[in-house]
């Protein structure tokens, strides 16, 4: 598949998708250019580098990136590549430094990316080196409620337009409190899966009562968490919404109870209920009544590679993905709440998480089936709920009638096609912001 290849991988009428996109090297290479080279990518959180001169090492696709806060407090996303020969100038995961020295020849950069010092600038280079043009390559950076995004695309729209009405839902978790959120992590591990399989799974609640029944059953018995069955899922009032390229599922219930985040059990329920009620006036002021009381974000993915909040599927080749697991907690929540969420989260998600460990063999076999000679000829079937989604009077995006649906997944692959077939950002459609953002919360927090 060459550069002028037109990617037609999903048939919207039948929901059949060409499974070769999960293993083909040429498709992967094009994805790195056309998706990871263009989209706004989640790369971190401001709380990971709170002080001036702090840095946090991260990735945009396969490209290593240093997220820095310079001496004036400004954020920079800098390609971790010395402009001389390409060695990394940072080898640590995080830290505090105002200069980064390449360990090869000693070229030294300030944490705003500028090239500050070159050994032998006169003696070896005859003062002919154009240092101004040899700063670390810098990406555009913007934040949403403390979550840091970056893009290489000079022609990309701003982050607010990129998130669009998806933010209407994302706000219900990430923009809930005046004090914002705090990121813990990441835990990192390598999975033998294609990155899209993890992302598409964010809207797949159909798998939960099968893949995760063992964990749900023991947690119901030991922790008093709600039981989980196909029937509950099929009858759930929760919804799927595909909004401006982003995959959202959300709880839709006017019962004034906290979201069933990790760690909520019969013992800790009151703790969460008290917190929910104590913070409700603030949340209502920030988000308006409908979003504060009724809409609660569930599993979701910010295009292209966000996986349930600030968790990243970092591509490492067509059949390998490095998974980064963070936990976000309200910064001003009581320590008891933070602890319960943290412990509940490690028990369920992450490399050792009871839920998450049962996903990977499914995903890797889906990936493997896209590579073997005969299996790859047969498309995947994503026909569930075809024709049963559309605009909703109250909720932004294309909303499915039922919670268990493959609407978001189909639209994710159509969004993938839009990026893959576009020659520039001018060809990538964006939905206008139409939702009513009641309350005081903004992009900045």
């Amino acid at each position: 598949m060459g550069a002028t290849q037109k990617y037609v991988v999903i048939d919207p009428a039948t929901g059949k998708i060409d499974r070769r996109i999960f293993s083909d090297q040429a498709v992967y290479d094009a994805e790195m250019e056309r998706i990871f080279g263009r989209a706004w990518l989640m790369i971190g959180h401001e709380s990971l580098l709170p002080a001036r001169d702090d840095f946090f090492h991260t990735y945009m696709g396969e490209d290593p990136v240093i997220l820095t806060r310079d001496g004036t407090g400004r954020l920079h996303a800098l390609l971790n590549m010395c402009r001389h020969r390409g060695n990394r100038v940072v080898r640590c995961d995080d830290g505090n430094a105002n200069r980064f020295m390449c360990t090869y020849h000693g070229w030294t950069y300030k944490n705003d990316g500028s090239l500050d010092h070159v050994p032998g600038k006169s003696e070896a280079y005859y003062d002919a080196l154009d240092r101004d043009s040899l700063g670390l390559v810098e990406a555009r950076v913007e934040t949403y409620a403390g979550i840091v995004f970056a893009t290489w695309a000079k022609d990309a729209p701003g982050l607010e337009a990129y998130l669009g009405d998806a933010r209407w839902y994302l706000d219900t978790v990430f923009n809930r409190r005046d004090g914002g959120m705090q990121a813990l992590g990441p835990m990192k591990w390598l999975e033998p899966v294609n990155w899209k399989v993890m992302v598409d799974n964010c809207s797949d609640n159909y798998h939960v009562p099968t893949s995760h029944l063992s964990s749900a059953r023991v947690q119901s018995k030991y922790l008093g968490r709600p039981r989980l069955s196909h029937k509950d899922q099929f009858e759930s009032p929760n919804k799927h919404a595909f909004v401006n390229g982003h995959s959202i599922t959300f709880r839709d219930a006017d019962d004034n109870v906290p979201r069933y985040v990790h760690g909520v059990s019969s013992e800790t329920f009151q703790l969460f209920q008290d917190y929910h009620e104590a913070t409700m006036p603030e949340v209502e002021r920030r988000l308006g009544t409908l979003r504060a009381r009724r809409v609660q974000l569930g599993n979701h993915s910010v295009f292209p590679n966000g996986v349930l909040g600030l968790r990243l599927a970092l591509p490492r080749g067509p059949r390998q993905t490095e998974f980064w697991h963070f936990v976000l907690v309200d910064r001003d929540a009581p320590e008891a709440i933070k602890r319960v969420i943290r412990v509940g989260s490690q028990a369920n998600n992450g490399a050792a998480g009871m839920f998450e460990q049962d996903d990977v063999d499914n995903w890797r076999q889906v990936t493997a089936a896209s590579a073997s000679r005969h299996a790859r000829r047969y498309p995947q079937d994503l026909s569930m709920g075809l024709g049963h989604a559309g605009p909703h009077p109250e909720y932004p995006g294309l909303v499915s009638e039922r919670y268990i649906s493959e609407n978001n997944q189909r639209l994710f692959y159509q969004r993938w096609e839009e990026f893959m077939n576009a020659e520039s950002w001018a060809d990538i459609p964006l939905d206008p912001i139409k939702a009513r953002f009641d309350g005081t919360a903004t992009m900045r927090g």
């Binding site: 995961d93 995080d94 390598l190 030991y222 943290r342 992450g350 050792a352 049962d358 990977v360 063999d361």
Partner: protein, 191 residues
């Protein structure tokens, strides 16, 4: 029962006593705990997980911090402290849930189960106050799963052990893997 011919007692008593020297208490403790860890390794490899769970106190903290790349001079930051996001931060009830989960027959990460081999050594024992002991061990754990998946997990454990009804139990276990990005697809075996 056939009686074995024995030498007359009188003759034996007449010779100078040749018996192994009595173990000093630290050596005795070392041997006791080394056999404890060998037994634990067999329990894990033979999937006798209910018996394995009984080796822990009811108030156990089973903790695996993350391990970061930091400069040598900042080695104090290499392991994430308790309170930060850990790979594992489990109490007894969570450990029990993990074991109970495997018995449902639907814990797909371990059904069919992994084949493991826990090699535990380099034991160092430090007696603590109130009859507790601290024990450090190094481990190599080989895991083979399904057809060709395999992984060698290397690291160390630092345990605090306490005697409960005369038996050693682990009251706190800290597991430190020699890895930054874990190379395994998941961490579904116990260490």
């Amino acid at each position: 029962m056939k009686k074995k011919p024995t030498r007359p007692r009188a003759r034996r008593a007449a010779r100078p006593a040749v018996r192994p020297p009595a173990l000093a208490p630290p050596q005795a403790l070392w041997l006791e705990l080394m056999s404890f860890y060998i037994r634990e390794a067999w329990l894990l490899d033979e999937r006798k997980l209910t018996e394995w769970l009984a080796l822990f106190t009811d108030d156990v903290l089973y903790f695996m911090p993350r391990r970061k790349n930091v400069p040598r001079r900042e080695s104090h930051r290499e392991l994430t402290p308790l309170g930060d996001l850990a790979i594992l931060e489990e109490d007894k009830r969570y450990l029990e849930m993990r074991v109970a989960r495997l018995d449902t027959g639907m814990a797909w990460a371990e059904d069919p189960p992994s084949r493991t081999r826990h090699l535990v050594g380099n034991l160092e024992v430090t007696p603590l106050a109130r009859g507790e002991a601290q024990a450090r061990t190094a481990f190599l754990v080989y895991r083979s799963h399904l057809e060709t998946d395999h992984q060698l997990l290397s690291g160390y454990r630092e345990d605090v052990l306490r005697r409960v009804n005369g038996e050693w139990k682990i009251a706190r276990r800290t597991i430190v893997l020699d890895a930054n990005v874990l190379l395994d697809k998941n961490l579904s075996v116990f260490l």
